[in-house]
Amino acid sequence: MKTIIDIANLKKDYHVGEVTVHALRGVDLKINEGEFVAIMGASGSGKSTMLNIIGCLDRPTDGTYLLDNVNVAGMSKNERAAIRNLKIGFVFQSYNLLSRTSALENVELPLMYNRSVSSRERREKAIAALEAVGLADRMNHMPNQLSGGQQQRVAIARSLVNDPVVILADEATGNLDTRTSYEIMSLFQELNNKGKTIVFVTHEPDIAKCMTRSVVFRDGSIIREEDVKNRLNAAEVLRTLPVEQD
C-alpha cells in the first residue's frame, strides 16, 4: 500500500524569548493511502503543530517528512504554497469561508491559485465537489445564508476540489452540535470509503471512533497509536439520535 505521509524523527522547537519550547520531540508517523487517522491529545500536546507541519503551513526544525514521496521538510515558503495548492485540502473548525462570496466561488478558490486550471475547468470541478457533498442546490448561496453544517460541507467541498492526496481537518466538528457532527463525519466516512486519505485532529473520543486509526499525542511525543476497534458508522449513529423537533 502506498505511503502518503512518512515522517521520521520530526522535531519542532519554538523560541519564546530565551526559553526554547519543544513542541515536537522526535515523532515518527506513517500514514498510508486510504487511512482515516484521528490525531488526539490535550491542548499543548503538539497535535496542532503536527497538523501544521503535515499541512506544510510550518516547517520542522529537524527530521524528515515525505509527502507523497516528496521531501517537503526543507522547502521554501513559495514551494510549500505550491504543495498545499496541489496536494492538500484543509477543513477548519471555523469553516473559514469568504464572506459575501457564493458557495461555488468559495469552492473554486484553491483552483484560482493554480494557473494550469482554466476557468471552465475550475467551474466544472467546483460543481462536482459541491455535488459530492450534497450541496448542488446551494451553489449560489452566500455563507450567511447557510447553516453551520452546510458551511462546513462547502469547506469540505473546497478541500476536495484540487483532488488532494490528503485532507487535513482541524477540529472540523468543533463548532457543530452532535447531530450535525455525525452528519459531517458520515460525509468524511463516505469520502474515505471512496479512497480519500484523511487526517483528523479532534479531542472528542466519540468522533475519533468513526476513524480507522488513532494517534495520541502528549508533550510533543506520540504516546499511543492503535487501530480503532468497534469502529462507528456515523450514518447508523445518526439513525439512533433523536431527531430535533422543529
Binding site: L57, K77, N78, R84, N85, R100, P110, M112, Y113
Partner: protein
C-alpha cells in the same frame, strides 16, 4: 493567480465597502482636481500676460534715457535730453539685427472736436511706428515718412478717442481735431487693442508724425524714446547689444562711463512678468500636491485597516496555495485601483473647475495635457507607494497566525 482574477477580487473588495472606497478616493480626487486646476490657472494667467506683451509690438526693443551724472549730481531719467533723431538714424544704418526703428515723443493734452473734448495722449513716430507697435489701421492710411519730414498736421486716432469725440463706432477719417490748439487732419483710425496688463486703455491715443509733435506741441529737439523691432525674437539680444554699441559711440561715452540710456526688450519684459506667475504656479501646484500626498496617506491608512480586517481571509488564501506575491498583488492592485480611479474622477473635475474659472475670469485657461499625464502618473505611483507597505504586511503574514487571528 492570473491578473484578471486579481483585478476581479480587488474590484469586488472595493465594491463591498462602497462608502469607504469613495471617501478614500475623495482625497485623491480633491488632490488631482486641485493640481490640474491650479496648474491650468497658472498657465492661463501666464498666457494672458504673454499675449498682452506680444500685443505691445513685434520683437520690440526700446531705448529710454537712463540716469546720468551732471557734476556729481545724479539726475532723474526723465530730465535726460540725450536721445536724438541722430541716434535713430545711426541705429537704422548700423544695426543689422534691427528691421524697423522709430523715434517716439509724447505729450498729454486735451483733444477737441466741435463741442466735444477728451483728455488723451499724443504719440509722435515715423512711418514704421505702427509696425513696431503691431498696430493696424482699420480705416484710412498710415503716416508716411514724407509727412514725418515735413511736420504735416495729420494724425491717426485710437478707437476710444474716436468714440469720445465723434460718437460710438463713427469713422472720423477726414475730420479735423485740435490737440492743444493745433489742428490735425485725421487720416486713419487704429485697430482696437483693449486694456494692457496694467489696466490702461491702449486705444486712448492719437498718433502723429514725430516732427509735428516735437516742433508744434513740445517745442523740443530731443526725443523721449526710441522704439525698434528686432528681426526675430531670437535676435533680440544681439540687437540689444548692437544698439548699445551704437549709442555709446554717438553719445561719446568713455570706457569707464555708465550708459546714459537703457535698452530694454519685449523679451525681457515678458520674462520678468511671467516669472512672477511662474512662481505663483509652482506655489499653487505645491499646495495642491500636498493635498494629493494627504490623499495618498488616506489610502495607506485604509489599506492597513483592510489588511487587518481580512487577516483570516489572507490566512485562508495562503493555506489553499496563495503565494506571498499573490497576496501582495491582491492588495497592491486594490490600492492602485483606488488611486487611479480617484485620479480619473479628479481629472474630470479638474477640467470642469478650470472651465468654471475660465468663465469667471475670462483668462485663456487651458488644461495642460502634460499636467493630466503627470497627475495620472502621480496617482499610479501613489497607489503603489502607499499601497506597498500594507500589501507587504499582508504578504508577510504567517498563514498559521493569520488563520487564528480573531
Amino acid at each position: 493567480m492570473n491578473p484578471g482574477n486579481l483585478l476581479k477580487i480587488a474590484i469586488k473588495a472595493l465594491k463591498r465597502n462602497k462608502m469607504r472606497s469613495f471617501l478614500t478616493m475623495l482625497g485623491i480626487i480633491i488632490g488631482v482636481a486641485s493640481v490640474i486646476t491650479m496648474l491650468a490657472i497658472g498657465q492661463g494667467s501666464k498666457k494672458s500676460i504673454q499675449d498682452q506683451i506680444a500685443g505691445m509690438g513685434s520683437n520690440m526693443l526700446f531705448v529710454m534715457p537712463g540716469n546720468m551724472r551732471m557734476g556729481g549730481v545724479q539726475q532723474g531719467s526723465s530730465s535726460s535730453q540725450r536721445l536724438t533723431v541722430a541716434d535713430v538714424k545711426a541705429i537704422k544704418t548700423e544695426c543689422d539685427a534691427i528691421v524697423a526703428v522709430s523715434p517716439e515723443v509724447r505729450s498729454s493734452g486735451q483733444a477737441v472736436s466741435g463741442n466735444s473734448n477728451w483728455p488723451t495722449t499724443i504719440y509722435g513716430g515715423n512711418e514704421q511706428y505702427l509696425e513696431i507697435r503691431s498696430w493696424d489701421v482699420v480705416s484710412g492710411r498710415n503716416i508716411t515718412d514724407t509727412e514725418a519730414e515735413s511736420s504735416a498736421k495729420v494724425c491717426l486716432v485710437g478707437r476710444t478717442v474716436a468714440d469720445e469725440l465723434f460718437g460710438e463706432g463713427i469713422d472720423p477719417t477726414g475730420e479735423t481735431i485740435r490737440f492743444q490748439s493745433i489742428p490735425f487732419k485725421i487720416i486713419g483710425v487704429l485697430s482696437k487693442k483693449g486694456q494692457n496688463s496694467f489696466g490702461q486703455d491702449q486705444d486712448d491715443v492719437i498718433i502723429a508724425p514725430y516732427t509735428t509733435v516735437q516742433k508744434r506741441i513740445l517745442a523740443q529737439t530731443h526725443i523721449q524714446s526710441i522704439q525698434m523691432s528686432a528681426r526675430s525674437a531670437e535676435e533680440s539680444e544681439l540687437a540689444q547689444s548692437q544698439v548699445e554699441e551704437v549709442l555709446r559711440r554717438t553719445h561719446k561715452l568713455r570706457e569707464n562711463e555708465d550708459n546714459d540710456f537703457e535698452v530694454r526688450s519685449q523679451e525681457e519684459l515678458a520674462t520678468t512678468m511671467t516669472s512672477v506667475t511662474e512662481i505663483l504656479t509652482i506655489l499653487l501646484g505645491a499646495i495642491a500636491g500636498i493635498s494629493l500626498l494627504v490623499g495618498g496617506i488616506g489610502i495607506m491608512n485604509i489599506m492597513y485597516v483592510s489588511v487587518t480586517e481580512r487577516t483570516r481571509e489572507i490566512g485562508l488564501r495562503m493555506s489553499v496555495g496563495g503565494r506571498s506575491i499573490d497576496i501582495l498583488l491582491q492588495f497592491l492592485i486594490e490600492s492602485i485601483l483606488l488611486s487611479v480611479f480617484g485620479g480619473l474622477i479628479g481629472i474630470v473635475i479638474g477640467f470642469g473647475a478650470s472651465a468654471i474659472v475660465e468663465a469667471l475670469t475670462s483668462w485663456p485657461i487651458s488644461v495642460m495635457w502634460s499636467s493630466v499625464i503627470l497627475a495620472f502618473a502621480v496617482c499610479t505611483v501613489i497607489g503603489i507607494f502607499f499601497g506597498w507597505y500594507p500589501a507587504r504586511r499582508a504578504a508577510d503574514l504567517d498563514p498559521i497566525d493569520a488563520l487564528r487571528f480573531e
